[in-house]
Amino acid sequence: MEVSILDYGMGNIKSIINALEYLDARPEVVDDPGDLDGERIIIPGVGAFGDAMKRLEFFRDKVRELGESGVPILGICLGLQVLFESSEECPTAEGLGILGGRVVRVDTELDLPHIGWNSLEILRRDSPLFKGVQNGYVYYANSYHAEPEGDLKTALSEYGGEITASVQEGNIFGTQFHPEKSGELGLKILENFLEV
């Protein structure tokens, strides 16, 4: 299966390529909206929301169009956050707005960024990403997280307060954690995305 990985210059995508190849998918790194023709789309990203939206502007219409046509899309970490309407991190930047809600700073007394392995509490077992996945640990590196509208939240983690671990609305998925760096559990989640 061909998977388009959006390359918009926000961080390292080699780990995602490695994980997909390990799962026998064919990752295709795409830096032009015209080439977004994979059966799945992954939006990666680390860094700041404002920078990301500037660089993603180019992809905005195409990604929204493909999302509406039913192509499964997975946003990872910052790639999840850009799916929403806006972020406290850069209030002037407009998100892709594919999902309803906004991104806020993690409300906690504990140190930020939140780096390391945190336990995943699955809220929606019927979400296809969690088929055959048990509660376990996943790897994070974030200071912000999504505050989705409605019941889009499919899993959470505790860090002196709740962190939105993952979201889903139809064919649109997001994980705040890094499945490509979360051991066997993370690989299973990516494999599930390929089978959606």
Binding site: G11, N12, K14, S15, N18, A19, E21, Y22, V46, G47, D111, L112, P113, H114, I115, G116, W117, N118, S119, G136, Y137, Y139, A141, N142, E158, Y159, E180, K181, S182, G183, E184, G186, L187
Partner: protein, 274 residues
């Protein structure tokens, strides 16, 4: 709740084909203990929370860093992979990220050019920017009259810590605790803190050093140097704010498996990923 991380460290000599992992006793007397790619995969499967590769020959002999080893390893290891040794520029860092490193760690490059920390952090994110600090205890006599040194109470009395570079062979005169705060402000996402006094001794971590740095900073601290058994890791997590324990010889010489260490910690109530 965040788990405490257990991180095997592979000190690599890349002077032979495919490299070999060595573990120094106080940074000298290098002994071979396996191929980096093979060991990394073995530790990943055994439950390591992260893998650290340090090219210990790079600074000394100005060798190119370990692009090929990183490429091969990252195809099979799906936990964070941190790579250091000889990184002196954004370009050096970029090569490693493009090969599959998730984080890079810099010591000499940062001490010689502190702006490198800002640059790498701005370019690749703080979560990918680890600063390694090799700290050596110094007698407090030399503290007199200096406001640039932080004294720490230890079992040897009051000491200050001096940062070292070039693989432990040269000293900077720079206070390690102040340096740690400086690099945090510059955008470092984590500190890899090695006690040079304990490294290779298996006498346990330098608790006062680890406690001081983890308390003064709000970014995660990885404690390193001196781990000889699971009790040492337990003691360190109990008495300091460190987020992770780095160890080499106890795993390389198969004195304990990662699973045994994790069982030991879990039985004593330390949050651990299993």
């Amino acid at each position: 709740m965040l788990s405490k991380r257990i991180i095997p460290c592979l000190d690599c000599d890349l002077g032979v084909p495919e490299g070999r992992v060595v573990k120094g006793v106080e940074f000298e007397n290098l002994k071979a203990s396996g191929k980096p790619t093979f060991l990394a995969e073995k530790y990943y499967k055994a439950g390591a929370d992260e893998i650290v590769f340090l090219d210990i020959t790079a600074s000394k002999q100005k060798r190119e860093t370990m692009t090929r080893v990183v490429e091969k390893t990252s195809e099979k290891v799906f936990v964070p992979l941190t790579v250091g040794g000889g990184i002196r520029s954004v370009e050096d860092a970029r090569k490693l990220f493009n090969s599959g490193a998730d984080k890079i760690t810099i010591n000499t490059g940062a001490l010689e050019n502190p702006d490198l920390v800002n640059k790498i952090s701005n370019m690749f994110g703080s979560q990918a920017t680890v600063v390694a600090i090799d700290a050596k205890r110094r007698s407090v006599d030399s503290l007199e009259g200096s406001s640039d040194l932080v004294s720490v109470e230890t079992e040897d009395g009051e000491v200050w810590y001096e940062s070292s570079f070039y693989g432990g062979s040269k000293f900077t005169g720079r206070d390690s605790i102040k340096w740690a705060k400086d690099v945090e402000a510059r955008g470092a996402g984590e500190i890899l803190l090695t006690s040079m006094d304990r490294d290779g001794t298996t006498d346990g971590f330098d608790i006062p050093l680890t406690e001081k740095v983890s308390r003064e900073l709000s970014i995660p601290v990885i404690a390193s140097g001196g781990c000889g058994n699971p009790e040492h890791i337990y003691e360190m997590f109990e008495e300091t704010g460190a987020s992770a324990a780095l160890a080499a010889s106890i795993f390389h010489y198969e004195r304990y498996t990662i699973g045994e260490v994790k069982d030991f910690l879990e039985e004593r109530g330390i949050p651990i990923r299993k």
